[in-house]
């Protein structure tokens, strides 16, 4: 198995190291690589004093061990993962899975040595936001309980694994529509990074999502069931009873767990995603509002229009007209 050692910090002198380690070449803010190990890009951008962000979009052609060893200890990384296959995340010889059905958000102190095992064929899409500890303290001082939430009391270092909220996923998906050639790529990337930080702080502040150190089978089932809901977004809502039965839980347990993980109940989650789908369909310009309503199984245009306006503050027709 090939090993790549990362060594980075919130200033940018790790970029050359990274380019060398991955065998990629540096072009502007991109490290582009296509070799026997992986194909893809690393995009990095200083956001403001004390905050640097990086976007990793790569497909691995063989199994690789990624090692993170940092010499300086002055920053904390927020990582948002979107992957097609799970990644083994190794911390103190303890293996945790990161990926589609597992954790997809990690907040990690740079002093901690981390290893990831990435399997062959993994498409890795990660957004890393590196905060200077001083900068972070400044912002976190406004949110008092936050230190308690993310600080690992035993080791006195920050480590937290979680799942990102739907808002963050939508932000990332919107961003992925933008071509990396665009002259506005950096502007939109900054917008994305700030949006993610904002959402993440809110999530931490409200303690909306609380998952224990290990993900249990039940939670995995719920996440799988969420994916299933996403895939059947164009049809009618299957109902909590049906969904619970699919994962062998009682409806009430299902509902409680679902709300705990997603912050909303199954129905709201489903209909909000449906509206997002409607918005995306309208953006393509290929469908009339009528057709969208029909395609997404709304009983009538009027109901879609009403819900759409509640969610986005604009009526679907207006949305399409002004696009």
């Amino acid at each position: 198995m090939k090993t790549v050692t990362y060594n980075y910090n919130s200033s940018l002198n790790w970029v050359d190291v990274l380019a060398e380690a991955t065998g990629g070449c540096l072009e502007g803010n991109f490290i582009k690589g296509d070799n026997e190990m992986f194909k893809g890009t690393h995009f990095f951008l200083p956001i403001e004093d004390g905050i640097t962000a990086m976007l990793i979009d790569t497909t691995y052609k063989e199994e690789v061990l990624l090692k993170y060893r940092n010499e300086n200890n002055n920053f904390i990384g927020f990582h948002f993962y979107l992957t097609n296959l799970d990644i083994d995340f190794i911390l103190d010889d303890e293996v945790t899975l990161l990926g589609k059905l597992n954790y997809n958000l990690s907040i990690v102190d740079c002093t901690i040595d981390l290893d990831y095992i990435v399997k062959k064929g993994t498409r890795l899409f990660v957004i890393c936001i590196l905060f200077d500890k001083e900068a972070l303290k400044k912002y976190f001082s406004k949110i008092t309980p936050i230190a308690d939430i993310i600080l690992d009391a035993q080791k006195n270092t920050v480590i937290r694994l979680d799942r990102m909220g739907t808002e963050s996923l939508i932000l990332i998906n919107d961003f992925r529509k933008i071509s990396s050639d665009s002259s506005l790529y950096k502007v939109y990337f900054k917008g994305l990074v700030y949006g993610l930080i904002g959402n993440c702080l809110e999530q931490l502040n409200n303690k909306k999502i609380i998952i224990d150190k290990t993900i249990t089978a039940d939670i995995k089932n719920i996440i799988a069931s969420k994916t299933m809901l996403q895939n059947s977004i164009e049809g009618p809502f299957p109902g909590v009873n049906f969904l619970a039965e699919q994962v062998a839980m009682s409806p009430s347990k299902y509902k409680i767990l679902f709300a705990k993980i997603s912050g909303v109940n199954p129905g709201t989650y489903f209909y909000n995603n449906k509206l997002n789908r409607a918005k995306e369909l309208l953006e393509t310009g290929k469908f009339t509002v009528n057709e969208v309503a029909h395609k997404l199984n709304y009983a009538n245009v009027s109901y879609l229009a009403k819900r759409f306006n509640e969610m986005y503050g604009i009526y679907p027709k207006e949305y399409q007209n002004l696009f």
Binding site: I197, K306, Y312, I314, F323
Partner: protein
């Protein structure tokens, strides 16, 4: 009347200094990026951030307590002010003339103004005023266009001698969604700074995309033609109570052929005049239905020049998702 309304003169700058004038005149306090107004004039707050060396963003969220005329004076700083207005009420200016006939005027909620031209705003008492402004240095905008494009499409726009407000219209859909979600956040939330920065960068991206795709075709037209279309648009919007006058008449008023008028109108406003007119009428209908001044849907329909209440109800429902009758009952 207008001489009785006090006037407050101020300027904007890319740096936070402009705020002191506000506090001196209106009273209140500045806390970091935030500005809280005193109850004497208005209830609310404001947020100011420099997001790039060349770009700043202002949020104003307030309810004005007594009439005041806000005049932004021209200054020499070389930047654009981009206005996004997301106030609660849609058509706020209801003017009663001598005949006691009520006229309605709808408001354009998006504009780009050169800082070298002054502008005034008469705040409406008792209504929530929610607005975002981007201040963008001109040289920064230039960096997004190649020299050739720039020479062809924007020469006049960046010409310092021609001081003109060259665009106003409606907020585009994607920006409206961003602003709507921003409006759900409170200025005092601890993560507000990040949420606002995220929104501001995204809006900036959308704006430059819009300039890239729409403006060139617009700037290619003669300035006087654009003004004529804007003027006829104003006329159209102040006569929402009558049926659509027809493209021919509008084109005639603007001294151009119907085809040319239609094309130019579409370029500026993104929709056809007839559709635009219909949408504005429906938005006004909503206001009227919610005002409580009308007892029957048919009255509103007649007021707006629809002969058949059923037809009115059906297009209203298509647009808003509820029947006018339901709205009327709720209020």
């Amino acid at each position: 009347m207008s001489e009785l309304i006090p006037e407050f003169k101020h300027i904007y700058s890319l740096t936070p200094e402009w705020r002191q004038d506000f506090i001196n005149y209106l009273g209140g306090t500045i806390v970091d990026e935030k500005m809280y107004f005193s109850e004497k004039w208005s209830r609310g707050s404001s947020f100011f951030l420099e997001i790039l060396p060349d770009v700043s963003v202002i949020i104003i969220d307030t309810i004005v307590n007594r009439p005041i005329l806000l005049t932004r004076m021209a200054s020499d700083d070389d930047f654009w002010i981009v206005y996004y207005d997301l106030s609660d009420s849609f058509s706020k200016h209801i003017v009663e003339d001598v005949n006691h006939k009520i006229g309605y005027k709808s408001k354009l909620n998006f504009g780009i103004v050169d800082n070298k031209i002054g502008s005034s705003y008469l705040a409406t008492v008792g209504e929530r005023f929610y607005s975002l402004r981007l201040l963008i240095r001109k040289s920064y905008i230039k960096t997004f266009f190649t020299d050739a494009e720039f020479e062809k499409d924007f020469k006049d726009v960046f010409d310092d001698k021609k001081k003109k407000m060259f665009f106003y219209g409606h907020i585009d859909s994607r920006s409206k969604v961003i602003l709507h979600s921003l409006k759900q956040n409170k200025i005092d939330d601890p993560n507000y700074e990040f949420i606002l920065k995220g929104a501001a960068f995204t809006l900036l991206g959308y704006l430059i995309e819009r300039l890239n795709s729409k403006m060139p075709s617009m700037v290619a037209h003669l300035e006087k033609d654009i003004e004529a279309v804007m003027l006829s648009q104003q006329h159209l919007l102040s006569n929402l109570l009558v049926p659509f006058p027809g493209i021919e008449l509008l084109a005639n008023n603007a001294n151009m052929s119907s085809t040319k008028y239609r094309t130019l109108y579409n370029t500026i406003f993104g929709v056809s005049p007839a559709l635009y007119f219909k949408n504005e009428k429906l938005l006004l209908a909503k206001e009227l239905l919610e005002s409580g001044d009308f007892k029957f849907v048919s009255d509103v329909a007649y007021e707006l020049g629809y002969n058949k209440t059923a037809y009115f109800s059906s297009i209203y429902k298509d647009y808003f998702g509820v029947l006018p009758n339901t709205v009327l009952k709720e209020f």
